[in-house]
Symmetry: C2
Subunit: 107 residues, 2 copies
DNA sequence: ATAAAATTTAACTAAAAGGTTAAATGAGGC
DNA sequence: GCCTCATTTAACCTTTTAGTTAAATTTTAT
């Protein structure tokens, strides 16, 4: 079993693992924007940006809103929450509790 | 300039973007473990696990403690905090504030 | 109907990722 | 010194990623 939710999480982290993509996402987070506007600050080609946008869209981090000849991109915060949840599972409180239980029974 | 801290963040997210690696990291988070112990639940080879551990180490998410012939791996929570901070920058409060400012001046 | 603008898709390339098996390393025990 | 155990490194393969340029698509304006 290759749980679906796991794959979604992987896609979110993969999307966030590229500097350019994080930059683009930050811009979108500040304010909805079109592909052209988003591409402007970067020295890479428009098709490259378009691909990054598709990756972000595939991770459900952004929503594409077709408006005439432009596409407006909008942040979707939900996957960010999932990512945070995963990180929380890894760090801190709950693992310390589980570790204590583990030590109690096995050690 | 390809800021160093950005590259560190990229490495953390990349490390977290693989399901097996998250599994391994979860195991380490629960309790320090050796490469052999960590490999046990997975069907991939030991060298594959060894590589995953090197990626996690490269992202500074784990620390390797050589103990005789075994290597013990220990979670380092600090990069998780950085990752959370980046996600927080992307979502929620501060962006809404910045957006308001932006709208005020430009719109 | 054409043209122009915004964007994507296609086709291609180079490098990185994730896996394999086989060989090398490092440490402890006899 | 030699054997064994735990682990990594080397060499290799295949797939994915991030970029390119050129062509196609879609929509609005003339």
């Amino acid at each position: 079993m290759v749980k679906l939710s796991e794959e979604r999480v992987s896609r979110v982290f993969k999307a966030l693992s590229d500097t350019t993509r994080r930059g683009i996402l930050m811009d979108i987070a500040r304010k909805d924007a079109t592909a052209g506007e988003l591409a402007e600050p970067y020295e890479i080609s428009l098709p490259a940006v378009s691909k990054h946008l598709k990756v972000l869209e595939g991770a459900d981090l952004v929503t594409r809103i077709r408006e005439g000849k432009t596409h407006r991109f909008h942040l979707n915060e939900e996957p960010l929450k999932s990512a945070t949840k995963v990180i929380e599972e890894l760090s801190g409180y709950w693992n310390r509790r589980l570790k204590e239980l583990d030590d109690y029974f096995k050690g």
